[in-house]
């Protein structure tokens, strides 16, 4: 499948309503496993449906390779049935009146393939997804997980250039979801299809995707590899949306600055006087460490004194809740914390663990170099 390109794509339902998607630029390359990630209502499903052709655009254009498939300027709209894509619906949308085999066979029949080839392909995907034993059943006789496999098989049978998945795992229970994730990753390798996957679950996105596009309120926030998204969030929204427990944010407001934030401000301005216009600093809970004695805090790290107010075991790791007079921090540790509630501790973080954002919440990229180089000193 050639590259899919969205340029300035826009969608609104009705003239006066707000944009569900605005001015979206997105490039999906062959063989990619891309996740559209964002909170509900951020426009990720709409984006997927625009790619499929189930929604037409209100602005911009969509190209597949060199071919324009949707554009107001050119007056072009290629309907979904001619786009040769696969889409797995959140509800699965299996046809209730057809057996599993006929559901899987539907697209092949439309393509008027010879019977032998059809049977071979149906057999292959049904085996691959382990649903061959249900071939004569109707969708209502299958469990959610099985239905979901049929929905996948139905689309894979026609071997689409790109497979679109709309939160396909959200209706499954936790164990099945884990299995299906592994399954999807395997299928991606086996069928070498481009996959676009919509989810609001960051773990799903992190574990599956080769590229993640984070969306919020109809706009693209950041696009990058899972590590990019996690390690270098482009703005505060991405930083706060990805990660659990969420990133600690110290914001430098004129009138609401906490004591810990003030310490961070002092720390940064004393060591990196060239940095200006900082709006906030973020530190991931697992980037924080703690020490009971001052000597154990490494030189040059950002640190402060706080009181332990909560120790929450999560199985294999612990979340510590630390409080100062006006701030609460969360810290994740993998070693059993030998602490008492109310005990005073020092938290610390190496300078490169600090994410520095400007007053508009955008990442200050120059800060990254400065802070990283500091470590070498």
């Amino acid at each position: 499948m050639p590259t899919i390109n969205l340029r300035g794509a826009q969608k609104n339902y009705g003239v006066n309503s707000a944009n569900a998607v605005s001015n979206l630029d997105l490039e999906i390359r062959d063989g990619e496993f891309m996740c559209l990630l964002g909170p509900s209502g951020c426009g990720k499903t709409t984006t997927l449906r625009m790619i499929a052709g189930l929604e037409n655009l209100s602005g911009g254009e969509i190209r597949i390779g060199d071919r324009v498939v949707d554009s107001i300027f050119d007056g072009v709209f290629v309907p979904p049935e001619k786009r040769e894509m696969g889409l797995v619906f959140q509800s699965y949308a299996l046809w209730p009146h057809l057996t599993i085999e006929r559901n899987t066979d539907f697209g092949l029949r439309l393509r008027k393939l010879p019977k032998a080839e059809r049977e071979a392909r149906v057999e292959k995907v049904m085996q691959a997804l382990d649903i061959a034993k249900y071939r004569d059943r109707y969708p209502s006789q299958l469990s959610g997980g099985q239905q979901q496999r049929v929905a996948l098989a139905r689309m894979l049978a026609v071997n689409p250039g790109v497979l679109l998945l709309d939160e396909p795992l959200s209706n499954l229970d936790a164990r099945l979801r884990l299995e299906m994730r592994a399954e999807l990753k395997r299928l991606h390798k086996e069928f070498k299809t481009t996959i676009v996957f919509v989810t609001h679950d960051q773990w799903e996105a992190m574990t599956l995707a080769t590229t993640i596009a984070v969306m919020n309120e109809g706009t693209l926030q950041q696009m990058g590899t899972p590590n990019d998204i996690y390690d270098r969030p482009a703005n505060r929204f991405v930083a706060e949306f990805v990660g659990s427990p969420p990133i600690n944010i110290l914001s430098f407001d004129k009138n609401g600055t906490s004591d810990v934030a003030k310490e961070a401000e002092a720390y940064l301005s004393s060591r990196y006087p060239s940095l200006r216009g900082i709006g906030s600093v973020g530190i991931r809970p697992e980037a924080l460490s703690y020490a009971t004695r001052k000597e154990d805090v490494p030189q040059g790290s950002f640190s402060g004194k706080m009181v332990v107010t909560g120790i929450l075991p999560t199985g294999g790791s612990w979340i510590l809740e630390l409080r100062s007079d006006s701030h609460t921090l969360f810290l994740t540790t993998h070693a059993l914390p030998r602490l008492e509630l109310g005990e005073k501790v020092r938290f610390f973080a190496p300078p490169e663990a600090l994410h520095v954002f400007d007053k508009d919440g955008q990442r200050i990229t120059e800060a990254d170099k400065l802070l990283r180089s500091a470590k070498l000193n």
Partner: protein, 618 residues
């Protein structure tokens, strides 16, 4: 704006054309392209035109009849045919004959309706409670059995009543009581009293269904909370249950009223002998005596009352929704123990069943196999009225089953009602599809409303409207009066509210996903209709055909105006037999209709696993 980290594989921001604003003609060209890609919108426009012609135009035509000089009145009014005039309004509402034409029939309609409503509420609420919330014997059986009166044509009961109570005021075979030596007074035999009783019994199922389903949905926890706070049983009933049941009660009252407004058969059979007229019979008389202008005024008045009534109902339904949102999720339905009252309560339900189903049907059946009324000796019984041959009578010399007229009427019924239901079922599904799927919102709203319009118009007024439009040739349309076509068209239009509602709700339930999945798989519009939409909707298509068929078979008011002897259907045929005082034959035909309607309803319920409550179109 997109924020891109340095390693993101994003395309450069598209410059030039993609981010510029498209001109308005580009937008329109694009929209047209999207809308015309599929025939949905085209089908929508065509059906919208069709229903405008079949529903809106006849109604406009009869309203115009009311204010324009009609044929034959040119000289008297000193105006040309078709000029505007207030003469008919004046004649109907203020002239000395207005009392007979409009005001007394209006009063009679209202009084009969109010009486029927009160009586059916009284009986219906008790029965609904017994069936849904108590441990009465045979609840399940009664739940179906007590709905039966609604499945039968209302004037079945009217004929049974005359069979029993007919007195010497009217000629022909006497009623059973008369034959036994007791002459029922006129007020018992004819007019307001029997009409009220019969309509009440006929529409009690409405209350049982609507009130009963509200009771079943009622959460016992609401009751329990009040009890825990110290409320007594009657306090709970008055302050918790009743207020929450009010919407259901009001809704059934209003539906009964709307139905009474258009009821023709019962007042025709029972009111005529004592000149007791309601609006529908007054309209019929105006049409029969070719008072087209006055008929227009009366028909328009009936429509107006109908529209107002159902608008009130729509409002109440909206209010009822407010209650629903408050009600909790876990609907606990606990039964009250009747204790000592268990047997009397069962007796009450059984009595109502006997009065509203058993007795009338038995009476009718016995009357068809007895030579002389109320004489229960063996030699008085005969099957001649059903299958007799060479009976020495002036007309109808064979039993009714051997009469060619019956079979002609049966064939007409099958053809007319069958065609109309088939058409309305298919059109209903199409309308449902367009309403849900078209990107043109205005079209969707218009189609939804125009197909609902006949619901607001009582059948007899609708028939009058058809007569007004199609009695004479107009444009390319020849005069249709006396043809099968006009009956099929009128019946189809009259059934559209049910058909389109069924179609819309079926399409809403189906949702977009299965069709979109087929689209993704590569199926074009036609293919999707054939392989996905219609097969999935098979069940509702069958209901969409069967339900109009049943209600068409027992329908009378539409046919009585539009049918002529050559296009007689079973209902009009039996009415004609009533007019000729062939009591036994008329009763036999009505029994046949009742049997078809009853069995058909049962079949429809079995087939679709729905219950009647949804079919009531509340």
């Amino acid at each position: 704006m997109a924020f891109l980290s340095d390693s993101a594989k994003a395309s450069p921001t598209a410059g030039g054309e993609a981010s510029a604003t498209p001109s308005s003609w580009q937008v329109w060209r694009y929209r047209l392209k999207v809308a015309s890609r599929e025939p949905t919108t085209l089908i929508g426009v065509l059906t919208a035109l069709l229903f405008t012609y079949l529903i809106v135009v006849p109604i406009i035509s009869i309203v115009l009849d009311a204010v324009r000089v009609q044929f034959g009145h040119e000289r008297r009014l000193g105006k040309d045919f078709g000029d505007l005039t207030l003469y008919y309004l004046d004649r109907t509402f203020t002239s000395p004959v207005s009392v007979d034409l409009f005001w007394r029939p209006l009063f009679n309609t209202l009084s009969v309706a109010v009486g029927a409503i009160l009586l059916s509420l009284l009986i219906g609420t008790i029965l609904a409670w017994l069936i849904s919330r108590t441990d009465m014997f045979g609840r399940r059986w009664f739940a179906t059995a007590l709905i039966v009166p609604y499945m039968l044509p209302a004037w079945t009961f009217a004929l049974a009543w005359t069979t029993l109570f007919k007195n010497r005021t009217v000629g022909g075979q006497p009623g059973w009581f008369e034959a036994l030596g007791w002459t029922p007074p006129d007020w018992v035999a004819y007019g307001r009293f029997p009409i009220t009783i019969i309509l009440a019994l006929h529409y009690t199922p409405f209350v049982i269904l609507l009130f009963g389903s509200a009771l079943r949905r009622f959460d016992s926890q609401l009751e329990d909370s009040a009890r825990i706070l110290g409320a007594k049983r009657y306090q709970v009933a008055m302050q918790i249950i009743l207020p929450l049941m009010r919407p259901a009660l009001m809704s059934s009252m209003i539906l009964i009223f709307a139905k009474c407004l258009g009821e023709f058969g019962v007042p025709y059979v029972l009111g005529l002998p004592v000149k007791f007229e309601v609006l529908s019979t007054s309209l019929f008389r105006s049409i029969a005596s070719r008072q087209t202008g006055v008929a227009g005024v009366v028909a328009a008045s009936i429509m107006l009352i109908g529209i107002i009534t159902l608008m009130i109902d729509a409002r109440l339904v909206r209010e009822a929704r407010r209650f629903v949102t408050i009600g909790s999720k876990g609907s606990m339905n606990r039964q009250s123990r009747l204790g000592k009252l268990r047997l009397p309560a069962t007796g009450f339900a059984a009595t109502i069943f006997m009065l509203s189903v058993g007795l009338p049907l038995l009476t009718l059946f016995l009357s068809t196999i007895m030579k002389l009324p109320a004489q229960f000796t063996l030699d008085n019984f005969t099957l001649d009225y059903w299958i007799g041959q060479d009976l020495h009578t002036v007309a109808l010399q064979t039993g009714v089953l051997l009469s060619p007229d019956l079979w002609a009427a049966a064939k007409n019924t099958l053809v007319i009602v069958g065609l109309a239901s088939l058409a309305s079922g298919i059109l209903g599904l199409l309308v449902g599809y367009v309403v849900i799927r078209t990107p043109v919102r205005a079209l969707s709203v218009y189609l939804r409303q125009v197909t609902f319009l006949p619901y607001l118009v009582p059948g007899i007024a609708f028939a009058a409207a058809y007569l007004s439009l199609f009695a004479v040739p107009r444009g390319p349309m020849p005069a249709l009066y006396g043809t099968v076509t006009i009956l099929v068209l009128a019946l189809m239009a009259d059934q559209m509210p049910y058909a389109s509602r069924a179609g819309i709700s079926a399409m809403t339930q189906l949702g977009k996903d299965p069709e979109e999945a087929a689209q993704i798989a590569g199926a074009g519009w036609f293919r999707r209709m054939m392989s996905i939409v219609i097969p999935i909707q098979k069940g509702s298509l069958v209901t969409g055909v069967l339900l109009p068929f049943i209600s068409g078979i027992k329908g009378l008011s539409l046919f009585v105006i539009l049918a002529v002897p050559s296009t007689d259907v079973l209902t009009t045929y039996s009415l004609r037999l009533v007019d000729y005082h062939y009591t036994q034959a008329a009763n036999a035909v009505v029994l046949i209709i009742a049997a078809i309607a009853y069995l058909g309803t049962l079949a429809a319920q079995k087939l679709t696993k729905t219950n009647l409550a949804e079919g009531l179109g509340s």
